[in-house]
Symmetry: C2
Subunit: 347 residues, 2 copies
Amino acid sequence: MIPTPYLLFLGDAPDALAAKVAQGIRDWRPEIAVGQVRLPGCQADMGLPDMTLDEAKAAGAKTVVVGVANRGGRMADNWIAFLSDALAAGFDVASGLHTMLRDQPALAEAAARAGQELHDVRVPTVQYPIADGQKRTGRRCLAVGTDCSIGKMYTAMAMDREMQARGLKSTMRATGQTGILVTGAGVPLDAVVADFMAGAVEWLTPDNDADHWDHIEGQGSLFHVSYSGVTMALIHGGQPDALILCHEPTRTHMRGLPHYSLPTLEALRDTALPLARLANPACKVVGVAVNTKALSDDEAQTCVKEIEARMGLPTVDPVRHGAGRLVDALVDPHGSSRSSEEARKGR
Amino acid sequence: MIPTPYLLFLGDAPDALAAKVAQGIRDWRPEIAVGQVRLPGCQADMGLPDMTLDEAKAAGAKTVVVGVANRGGRMADNWIAFLSDALAAGFDVASGLHTMLRDQPALAEAAARAGQELHDVRVPTVQYPIADGQKRTGRRCLAVGTDCSIGKMYTAMAMDREMQARGLKSTMRATGQTGILVTGAGVPLDAVVADFMAGAVEWLTPDNDADHWDHIEGQGSLFHVSYSGVTMALIHGGQPDALILCHEPTRTHMRGLPHYSLPTLEALRDTALPLARLANPACKVVGVAVNTKALSDDEAQTCVKEIEARMGLPTVDPVRHGAGRLVDALVDPHGSSRSSEEARKGR
């Protein structure tokens, strides 16, 4: 277990999205985030107190969490200098980067000298099986997106919390570094060896009660050429009963790929659903989750109404509006929230 | 480099397909395969002389190649005993299993004692990049299958050899253990960490002359739930200009998944082509390769004619009939081998 509370290290994050690990912890477990550290040039801000190591120590922080995900997961030299100081000051350090803390000689040495621990949460600790595609009991919901970093984890977290609040059987199944740091368990799917990806997802979402829902954290996008294989493994290993389509209406191009435009929600539905039905013929698209963070309240309302009318599916921003209608669509699919158009189409 | 020639170890392969690594070497580099070793219960046969280690030594063999791929890549105890003997007798040992030779203490010890080398070809030796999806120069052909182990590598090998024989610019790009053992280079794609799969394929098929074709060895199948993510990474990382559809007409269910039936060639085309066009809008399906090994000559002829008429695409068994018509479809797409129906459809 990683000692809490955390001091969130934002490094020199070029934008807010690069610090999405810190943001996820801030948003879903604020009680364990006491402060933040920003290096010169940092463009992210969690709205937490900026702290020195001494101040964080006084505030009770036990672990410095690398809350920023660089493209490709490399660790910069000025990060190593700061993290070495943190170890010397008596903090543990946790990271979900591909480049492991333990593989940085300076950090390994500083940790050994200080008697502190390095926690690499993106290292698979299980020998995952090859997927066997056998039908499992219990039910599963997967969020798929028109792009990466678009709100899939927030959607799953919000739906899980809503089900828990209603006393329904539900488990959040983390597949990425933030989800693992927030929930304390999961599979670091993008670090799993290719042949075992789908098997890792099967392992993560085993047989369960017939009325239990796993909310599987999505990864990548079928339309993002860098990571689409990971998304595919989630769809086939997760054998979801329900898909939620995730979208961000102001995004102008695929994340990190300026020469690729985003697909429509219709294209996402028509691509993801047939692929999902290969592993689970009963799979349905049950709702749309829109990340409206960049919009005003009025704009957000207009946006989700337009999409709901167009797609014939319950559409909300689960952070802004709550995930109630998405959960209704899962557990009460014939309820009043379902439009007649949607019922006619059988989606 | 792995010393040749090879002695092919078939272990206790439960069927011929399990020994497909050995078969690939036997079929494409027979000059480097001097004999075979079969344990009790082995159901595979390369048609090579069965040899003891002493006999193989006398025949000049330098390396014992583990030519059998177990599901999940585990190494059995009776294999380790034989391979330890081989090391003691002065052979190197090469393997493409996920379970590494070097991680078996008995083999590591035997190799050190004998002064021989262990060659794990399924270990990525390169720090592959994250895919960037940038358009590359040169052209690429990818074989995709209705199932795994269906002839994708043979199709690529046959097309590459045909192009070489015609004096055209062509390179075979191996992505699996057999291809790497046959060609001497490549990416062991199913052992690459998930986030870097598509980047590894981009790395493998870099910018090239405008009239140069890479023949990319396919892996898995979009319809095989255990491995579909690997196939997806090949489609998006490879950004193919041309797809070849591969099929085996007597297969009754997906390899290793008795509860999953095979898709039709039409379903494969309609699933793979839109996904491929995301990375390369100009991608076309140019032909069908049928593995007719289980059929008589007459049956094979009937089968490929039926598929050709149905699909409107040049259809051959590249091993039985040669890959000439598939290469024609690549380099002479408006030639006489293209049916009018196909031209009308623009495929």
